[in-house]
Structure formats: structure tokens, C-alpha cells
Symmetry: C2
Subunit: 691 residues, 2 copies
């Protein structure tokens, strides 16, 4: 088929995704939202979430406009670039923001409707929650591919030089990455400030029950799930998705040279990632049809069939896509490649993603040795629980890094640097359904919170808890894909930067590059410290406010007067907005400053950020996950030295400490690092022609 024609079909898949998302959103809205009380509570949550997003976006508008103006000025009057890059940047930022907004809006409708559906049965509840998640997933991939491919088609008609087109497109990725960093950090601080604050208020002031509807921080906690785990994660995956597509496009221009004489489009290597992503959207929609379960059946099966089925179909289809778009064999800089080799690189990416996911599952699941060991170590108190959790998190970096290194070498062996980039894309091609499974978690979580606050019978909460638990394996695999693809994408962007900056080699035995490497390796540590410090400070304010309300509001303790939820929502909102600015700005500014000091140092910085970022991300998210499940494991009772330890015992209290420490690890600082390393690489790529 003509590659040009195929290119024009790409935006169409984005439109299909958005139309289907609209249809699903309409279906969710039409479901019953239950009792008056349920609707009121859900209304508070929805209002809080939208209010936060509006304030967040207000700040981001200023940031986006400032950066756009700077980008425009810096790139004007240059033959190899154009101020139009600022337009790409703005479009990228808007698409990311819209995807987060749509997804969260529907999630805050799906939560209460899931609760109501859970009053009738597990299967209907799964359907509502998953549909809510699917809207998020499809909004992200739909807006991503639509924005990206439209810009590409326009620029490609406008400018003759493919390298210039790709340079302009990289602005889109920069927009997506910067919004993602702010959204992840802001959302992460919001949700954990509320969560940690609500939990600890019970410890500090006597007589305030943890996890109780009378606790004024509970609404903020539920808002947090939506702004952090839904909107924040949406922006996160939006940037992963877009970043891996653009990374492959940048490398594609040099990888497949002009083959007009052979009837191959000169941009075959550039449009291939777009086409794979477009087909992945359709496959994701198809996969979603499998996520249905008869009443009484096991929801896990449906979820697995949907996600693994989609991945398998995608693997098969990518063979036909690749062999159709690329020439069967060609030579570039003396090396001969075949389209089959490129296909192997994609398969390596998929296999690495699944492997890392399974390893993640091993280290974090309640059934395996690491978590069981942490549970036993809780018997001797919180110190041993913490030591065991930190040790487990550190140990869990070993195998994923070995898999990742093998994937880098393997995919490069088959298809050069392009192979590394397309391996990452292979992992992310069915982001649509992966994100749907991910987002369905916090929706079920919220549904449970609403059930408890509106005092529904306990079996409703049990059902929503089961829903939440069911997605765990698939979510772990999703996490493996996220970390693996982030590392590969960062490396691909790194190679792209070297190409664009015209740096011959980045020799780490040079002192300037060594210094850059150390500085880069340090950033994820300082960044994590900022995020954790922010959660600590905000949680402290939350605790004080909860205490004030219990002391000053008569009848609150007895449950006769409602708490002033709005104050707590306000504390989380203000803290998140205030505290996201420094780390977010740091991520954008540091590479610019270093880049203008020395190109070489920037090269070292990128290597440092990537290596230490991947490791700290795996360490933090696995330690957090393992602590969380060690607590759950004890809640199911463990036996040690003949004594049984369960909920309420000292061992459980120790495990709660670990869980609380793990909260900012796994939901604030850890996931932000994935974005940080790509953002820094994208910034480097964008400023490469200027330095």
C-alpha cells in the first residue's frame, strides 16, 4: 500500500478512539448513581477534583505560555528550525491536559455508579468501573495520536527537510512531558498528603478513628485518588506514549534512508511508529470487548484475556505492518538491516515488558517470599519492617535491570538505535487497554470509599475491594511496561539528542562528562527528596486541621454534625499546587542551564539521570508495593513462633508504618522519576540545535 495513504489513515484511528470514548462516557453517565447520600458524596468528590484540576491548569497556563514564548524566540531566524515549534509545544500541552480532564471527569462519575452497581453484583460493577477506565485510556491514546499525526502531516507538507519536521514535532513531546511532570508531582502530593494525613490524624489525636467517614480528610483522600491516580497517571502515560513514538520517529529519519527508486517512501522509518500506534488503538478497542464476565464468573479472566489478547494480536499484526512499510532489506552506513530484524526488536520489547512485569509481581505480591518475609519481619516491630522493605526494594532492581540490559543489547543487535526505540514502542502500543485496566483500580477504590461513607452494607465494600484486588497482576505488568519503556525511550531520546546536537561521542572518561554523570545521577535523589518533603509537610497541615475540627466542631465526634470536608480539600489543593512548582521547574531548567554550559556535560547528565532514575524508580515503587501488601498479608493473619498475628496486633501496627512510608515512595516520588528522565531527555533534544 502507498505509505502516504497509510499516513493519512493514522489520525482517523485517533478520531475513532475519541468517538468510542464519548460513546462509553455517555453510557457511564446514564447509569444510576444510587441514593441521594451517595450522589451528594460523589458530588463533593467530583467538585473537589475539578476544582483542583482548574487551579493546576491555571498555573500551568502561565508556565506553558512562558516556555512557548521562549521557544519561539530561541528558534526564530534559524534555517534548521522554526518558531512553529512553540505551536507543537502548546498543542502537546493542551492534548495532555484535555486527556487528563476528560478521563478524570468520567472517572468521578464512574465511581459512584460502580458503588451502586456493586449493590447488585460484581459483574455489573466491573463493567461500569472498566468502562470508566477505558474512557481514560482511549482519551489518552486518541488525543495523542490525533495531535501528533495531524501536526506531522501539516509540517511534512510545509517543510521539505524531514529532520526539520521532526525537530518541530519534538515540541509536542516537550509539551506532553512538562504537563506530565507537574500533573504527576502535583497529583501525587495531593493524594498522599490526604491519605497519610487522614491515617496519622488517628495516631496523633486520641479518639479520632482512622479510615472513618467522620474523618474530615476522607473526601480529600478520595479526591486524591482521582487527581493523582487517574489524571496524574493519564498525563504520565500520555507522555510515555507520545515520547516513545517521537523517539522512534527521530531515529527513523536516519535509519531508513531515501529509497524512492525502490518504490519505498522516503519517510518509511518515520511513519512506522505512527502506524503501529494507530493499529494499537484499534486493537485496544477490540481487546476491551473481551473484558466481560458472566455473573458468578471470575473477573480476572476477562481482564487478562483483554490485555494479553490485545498484546498478542498486536505482536502478530506488527509483523505485517513492518514488512509492509519497510523495505525487506537495506543498507545504511555499511550495515544491512531487514524488516524482519525490526520486527524482532518489537518482540524483544514486548517480551522484556512482560518479564519485568512478572518480576514486579513477584516482589510485590502477597503470595511470594519477599512480601511474606516483610510480614514476618513486622513481628519484631516497625524498624525491622522498614529495613526489610528497603532491602526488598533495593534487591528488586537486580533482575529488571538485567532484563533491560539484555533488551537494549538485543534490540540494538537487530535494528540499531532504532531497534531500542521501537522496542519501547512495542511495549506501549496497546496503552489504550493497559491504561483502562490501570485507571479502573482507583475508580473501584473510590467506589469502596463512597460505599463506606454512605453507610452501605459491608458486602458492597467487599465487592469493590475484590474488584480493586483483581486488577493487581495486570497492573503490575502495566508497571513493568511503564518502567521498561521509560528507560528505553529515555535511551532512544538520548541517542537522538547526540545525533541532533552533533556530538561525536559521549566519553564518560572525560572529566566534564563524569561531572555531568554525577550531577545527573544526583537529580533523581534530590527530586525524590523534594516530593517526599512536600508530602510530609502537607500531611502535617492535614493532621492539624483534622484535630482542630474534632476539637472545635460539636457533634463531629458523635457523628451528628458533618465535618468541614472543604477545608481539607483546600489544604491538599494549595499544598499540591505550591509544592509542585519547584521540582517541576527544576526538571525543565537544569538541562537547559547545563546544556548552555557544555553540550558534553549535558550528555553526561542524561546518562546519569537515566541510570539513577530507573533504579530509584524501581526501588521506590517496588518497596512501596511490597510494604502495602505485607500489611494486607498480615490482615489475612500470619503465624510466627506459634503465635498468630492479624489486624490490630503490634505486627500489624508495624506493617502500617511501612505502608505509610511506602505511600509517597510508590505514588509520588517513584512514578515521577519515569517522567523526569524522559523530560530531561526531551528538553535536551529540543535545545540540541540551539547549543
Amino acid at each position: 500500500m502507498d505509505n502516504q495513504l497509510i499516513l493519512y489513515a493514522v489520525p482517523l484511528s485517533g478520531i475513532i478512539a475519541l468517538l468510542y470514548a464519548l460513546f462509553k462516557a455517555g453510557w457511564v453517565s446514564k447509569q444510576d448513581s444510587g441514593t441521594q447520600e451517595m450522589a451528594t458524596i460523589a458530588g463533593h468528590i467530583a467538585d473537589g477534583a475539578v476544582a483542583f484540576l482548574k487551579r493546576e491548569y491555571k498555573v500551568l497556563v502561565i508556565f506553558v505560555i512562558s516556555v512557548a514564548v521562549l521557544l519561539g524566540f530561541a528558534n526564530s531566524g534559524r534555517p534548521d528550525s522554526s518558531p512553529i515549534i512553540a505551536v507543537s509545544f502548546i498543542v502537546g500541552a493542551i492534548c495532555s491536559g484535555l486527556a487528563g480532564y476528560f478521563g478524570m471527569k468520567v472517572a468521578t462519575k464512574a465511581n459512584v455508579r460502580t458503588t451502586h452497581a456493586a449493590r447488585e453484583g460484581l459483574s455489573r460493577a466491573l463493567n461500569v468501573a472498566f468502562s470508566g477506565g477505558l474512557v481514560m485510556g482511549l482519551s489518552v491514546v486518541g488525543l495523542g495520536i490525533l495531535g501528533l499525526s495531524t501536526l506531522f502531516i501539516i509540517y511534512n507538507n510545509q517543510f521539505s527537510e524531514i529532520n526539520q519536521v521532526i525537530n518541530l514535532i519534538s515540541g509536542f513531546s516537550l509539551g506532553a512531558s512538562s504537563i506530565a511532570l507537574f500533573a504527576r508531582v502535583g497529583g501525587g502530593i495531593y493524594t498522599k498528603a490526604a491519605d497519610v494525613g487522614a491515617d496519622l490524624a488517628g495516631k496523633v489525636y486520641e479518639g479520632i478513628p482512622e479510615d472513618d467517614p467522620r474523618n474530615p480528610a476522607t473526601i480529600a483522600d478520595n479526591v486524591g485518588d482521582n487527581v493523582g491516580d487517574v489524571a496524574g497517571m493519564g498525563a504520565d502515560l500520555f507522555e510515555s506514549y507520545v515520547g516513545s513514538i517521537i523517539g522512534t520517529m527521530v531515529l527513523g529519519a536516519a535509519f531508513v534512508p531515501v529509497f524512492d527508486s525502490m518504490g519505498i517512501s522516503p519517510i518509511a522509518g518515520v511513519i512506522l511508529p505512527l502506524v503501529i500506534a494507530a493499529v494499537g488503538i484499534i486493537v485496544s478497542i477490540l481487546g476491551s470487548f473481551f473484558v466481560k464476565v458472566k455473573e458468578g464468573g471470575n473477573p480476572q479472566t476477562g481482564l487478562n484475556t483483554g490485555e494479553f489478547g490485545a498484546s498478542f494480536i498486536m505482536a502478530v499484526l506488527s509483523y505485517f505492518i513492518i514488512t509492509n512499510i519497510l523495505p525487506s532489506t537495506w543498507t545504511v552506513s555499511g550495515v544491512t538491516y531487514t524488516s524482519l530484524n525490526v520486527f524482532f526488536a518489537v518482540i524483544i520489547g514486548l517480551a522484556a515488558g512482560v518479564l519485568i512485569g512478572l518480576i514486579t509481581e513477584y516482589y510485590c505480591s502477597t503470595h511470594h517470599k519477599p512480601v511474606v518475609n516483610i510480614a514476618y519481619q513486622s513481628v519484631t516491630g516497625s524498624a525491622t519492617n522498614i529495613i526489610a522493605g528497603l532491602g526488598t526494594g533495593m534487591m528488586s532492581t537486580g533482575l529488571p535491570i538485567i532484563v533491560l540490559s539484555a533488551a537494549i543489547i538485543g534490540s540494538h543487535y537487530f535494528a540499531g538505535l532504532y531497534g531500542i526505540a521501537i522496542a519501547a514502542l512495542g511495549m506501549l502500543s496497546v496503552t489504550g487497554i493497559q491504561l483502562a485496566v490501570d485507571a479502573y483500580g482507583p475508580i473501584s477504590d473510590n467506589a469502596g470509599g463512597i460505599a463506606e461513607m454512605s453507610k452501605l452494607p459491608p458486602e458492597v465494600r467487599e465487592r469493590t475491594d475484590k474488584l480493586d484486588a483483581v486488577g493487581n497482576t495486570t497492573a503490575a505488568i502495566g508497571k513493568g511496561f511503564a518502567i521498561g519503556s521509560a528507560a528505553l525511550t529515555a535511551l532512544a531520546l538520548f541517542a537522538a539528542f547526540r545525533q541532533q546536537a552533533g556530538v561525536e561521542s559521549i566519553d564518560i572518561s572525560k572529566p566534564v562528562i563524569m561531572a555531568g554523570l554525577l550531577l545527573g545521577a544526583m537529580l533523581p535523589f534530590v527530586f525524590s527528596a523534594l516530593a517526599m518533603g512536600a508530602v510530609g509537610r502537607a500531611a502535617r497541615d492535614m493532621i492539624t486541621e483534622v484535630g482542630r475540627q474534632f476539637n472545635e466542631i460539636p457533634g463531629l465526634r458523635e457523628g451528628t454534625t458533618p465535618a468541614e470536608f472543604a477545608h481539607c480539600v483546600d489544604i491538599s489543593t494549595k499544598a499540591a499546587i505550591r509544592e509542585m512548582i519547584l521540582p517541576g521547574t527544576l526538571g525543565v531548567l537544569v538541562p537547559v542551564v547545563v546544556g548552555f554550559v557544555s553540550k558534553d556535560m549535558l550528555g553526561g547528565l542524561l546518562a546519569g539521570v537515566t541510570s539513577s532514575g530507573v533504579l530509584l524508580a524501581i526501588f521506590q515503587s517496588n518497596a512501596g508495593g511490597a510494604w502495602d501488601n505485607a500489611k494486607k498479608r498480615i490482615e489475612g493473619n500470619i503465624e510466627f513462633d506459634g503465635v498468630t498475628y492479624g489486624k490490630g496486633t503490634e505486627a500489624h501496627k508495624a506493617a502500617v508504618v511501612g505502608d505509610t512510608v511506602g505511600d509517597p515512595f510508590k505514588d509520588t516520588s517513584g512514578p515521577s522519576l519515569n517522567i523526569l528522565m524522559k523530560l530531561i531527555a526531551v528538553v535536551a533534544l529540543v535545545i540540541a540545535p540551539l547549543i
Copy 2:
């Protein structure tokens, strides 16, 4: 002066150091060891410590012989090398082992004599404790310089090619590094298993007081101070000292070319580090004379005068040494250097060391914001204490890394790669007195333990506690020197490896090197996890044993029957020996395996280990130090929201959890990383000609 003549004077300084150490050891032995009970307790500690060291050395003998045989075989029949490298390796290992043994032997005599001296007054106690530490310091530098310079003189007469001589000498460094890794890890596991086990036994079994002489683990705890903080640290600094000298020698051969026509010895760049180290020994001895205080004076002043005075004198003297040994100006590969520039590099190293030390002091001292903040965060429980401590540790990596990067660029600007190496040497030239101050800490600590166990009046304990506290600032500065010099030495060895392996450049944008970088960055995480896991497991056995004794030994609880200390000593000993083998072997094997797979990958691995190793080392040791002092801060009472929190309050309990978590961080895994990164670099350097 003739450089050849100067060279022959170097071993003399080692002999002077050892003779003075013998004299001081004799003086310590002659002091009174107090009551019969004190002598008995001290005897148990000394016996336990020697027994551990003997068992450790038995295992190490097997390791050393195996490696020596392999080294001999691998290097036989090669024109650029010689099996004699195995001899250097054995001599290095023996010197390191002897230094640890001598130092610890005297430390276990000095402890009880310090206790007895503290019954009379602070000043006499300081004198005994410091003299004990000085024996350790002088044994380390004396054996280091004596072994190294004797081998160099012999090889230099035997072989005509300076590069071959240096290759043979690097075996000495390998011997020192491998012993250091085992000693640090083994000693660290020993001391923290006993410490954490003794502390937590009180939590798990009711009625067992923490920190009480009846606790059967207390002797093991005191033995641990000697085998971990004295012998382990001695081996650690022995390898730092030797590594930085050899790193500079390797780079020196290429840095200062043959200048026979100018009357300059052809090996000027190679012998300069030896001469600086030799003069540093004499200056350290001179500095020790300042560490004397009149009764009623402030011991801090004496300690500071000694250490800073020695550093200052050394800075001045190094100007004369450098300008005397090096030509005033010369050109190599088109770049012109002057001896003055080399002097500047030394000064940069010294300044960076002091700065990193001051930053360390800021993050870990009870008087500054970070520790105060952790103390306040303890009010809301152990979870917030842990989050704050982890955050502080991560944040504390920022400034030291900036200083380090500036030092790398600065010293390289003045004197190339040689400048980086000699900057590290500048920090370590007065190791003799620095280590004396470091080792005097655990001696005072032990003295306090003996005072408590032999039920001496509380003012004795107060005096020993004061002694322990006095050394804190100087010890923090010492830590800064240790971390800074480790990083610089690793980088210098890294550059030396590149030179010896004939690798043109280590381009991190190459996939094989990227993979090596990631694998290298992962090693310190897995290594830390192994060390922490070992402490956790051994502490658990200790807790069980303490519980058993309290339940089964009649009269132990009442204090009428003595506890079975020996069992606890045995548990720590066995655990330490068993658990040190895997991480120790890993450190030696991984670079060998990776090196034979690919030279390039080994280059990436070195960069990864160094960058992530420095960061994790700073993170862990500062987090541990900050938690420790946050607990001490609360013990001095803090006020929050109008409530006072002190010893025994919930806030204090929370801070104890942090302190316990910090124990393996700062005393087991953290300090081992400094050695790990140098060991891996030395292994790479030694195998460089073979791959």
C-alpha cells in the same frame, strides 16, 4: 635533591610510623585497667574480637590464595606483565590484615583503660583513647607506605619498563581492596546484628531492658564496635590510602614524561604520590602532639588543632614537595603543565574534602535544621520520622555532588587526569591522624559500655559519652574526606583502566556501554540489599537467643546469674562470616565476568558503579547519621505545639525506630559502597592487560 634518593627515604617514614605506634601501644598497655570486674569484661570483649578476626582471616586466607594462584597463572608468559603480581596481591592483603589486627588489639586494651582513666578525669581519658586510635592510624599508614614503597623499589630495579612496574604494583591495591570489602561487610554485619538485636530484644520480649548489662547481647555489641568500627574501618582506610596513591602512580607514568636531559628523574610523576604520603605520616605524628588538653580544658580544641593543624602544614609542605620533585614546566600531548598547577589540584582536593565534611556535618548535626526537622516529624510517629529521614538523606546528596563535580573539573583543568588523582591523595595525605580521631570514637564508646556493665558511678559514663560526642565534628569531616576521596580515586582508577585496557573512548551512547552503565548502577543497590538483609537475619537470631536466655536461665532477670554472653558472640561471628561471602565475592567476580564479555561494557559498568555508589553511600550514611542525632535531639527534650517531648515519650520511640533503621545504613551498607566502587575499578585495572 635526587629523586632516587628521596624514593629510598619513603619506606623509612613507614618504619618511623610503626615504631612510634609500637611505643604508643606499649604506653597504653602500661596503663591501669581498673577493677577486677572491669578487667574481666574487657577480657571477654578482647577475646571475642580476636576470635572473630581469626575466623575471618581463616576464610580470607583461602580467598587470597585462590585469587593469587589465578592471578599468577593469568599473568604468566606475558611480556607486559608477570606472575609476580600475585606476590603484590598477597603482600597487600597481609599488610591490610596486619594493620587491622594491630589496631584492634590495642583498641581492646585502650577501651578499659579509658574507662579507668575517666574515673579520674576527662583529660587523661582523652589521652588514653586517642593514643589507642593513633596506634590504629599509624599502623595503617605505616604498613601501607612501607609495603608499597618497598615493592616499588624492588620492582623498579628488576624491570626496566615503568608501566610494567606499575601494573605489578596494582596487585597490592587489589589485595588491600578485597580484604577491605570483606572486613567492612563482615565487621558491619557483626556490629549491627548485635546492636539491633540487643535493642529490639527489649521490644519483643517483655521485661528485657534495652541497653542493660543483663542483656546477653551487650558483650557482642561491644565486640562489634571493635571488629566493625575499628578493624573494619582500618581496612577501609588502608585501601583508600593505598588506592589513591596507586591511582596517582598509574596516571603519573604518562603524565610526566622522561626528562633525563633536564635532570629530572623519569619517574617524577610516579614517586610524587609516595613522597607526599611519606611526609603526611610525619606530619600526622607531629599533629598528634597537639591533641593534649589541660584538666578542665576543652578536648574539642585539642582534637581540632591536631587534625586541622596537620592538614594546614601538609598543604604548605606539599608546595615544596611538588615544586622540588616535578619540573617547573613541561609539555605532554600538546598541553603544557606546571608544578604549580599540580599544587593547585592538591589544594582543590583538600578544599573539596573540607567542604563535603562541613555539608555532612550540617545534615547530621543536632544543631541544624535537617535533624531538628526529623525530630519534630517524630511527634506524628515513626512513619513520618522515616519519611523525613529518607528525604533528608536524599536531599543531602545535592551539595556534595556539586562540590565533587566542581573538584573534578577544577583539578582536571589544572593537571589533567593526574590532577584528579592527586586531589584525592591530597585529602588522604594525613590519614594517620584522621583515622586516629575516627578510631578514638568506638574506643570511647566501648569505654562507656564497660563503665555501665561494671556498674561504675554515672559520672564515668558521662565523661566517656562526652569524649564520644567531642569527636563528632572531626569525624564528620573525616567522612567527607572518605567519600570525596573514594569518588575521585574511583574516577582516577577508571581513567587508568581506560589507559591500560587501550580503550579509545567509553561512549555511553553505545548500547553495550549503556547496558554496562545500568548494570553498574544496579550493583550498589543489590549490594546494599544483601548487607541489610544479612543484618536483619542475624539480628533476628540474636533476638531469639536473648529471649531464650531470659526464659531459661534462672536468676538472669534478677541479675543474680550472669548471662551466657558467649552464645551471642558466636551468633554474630557465624552470621558475619557466612553473610560476608556472597557480597564480597560478587564485588570481585562481576567486573571479571563483565570484562571478559566486553571491555566496553566493563567501562560502562565502572561509570555506573561509581555514580550510583557515591550517591547511595552519601544517602545512606547521612540518613543514618541524621536519624541517630534526631533521637539524641529528642533525648535533650524538644517542644512542639506547646507539648514537651523527651526520653520515653511516643516521639522518642518513633525516633528510636529511625535510629535502628539507620544503623545498617550508616555502618554496614553505606560505608561498604566506598570500597565496592574502588574494588571494582581496581579489579578492572588489574585485568585490563588480559582482556
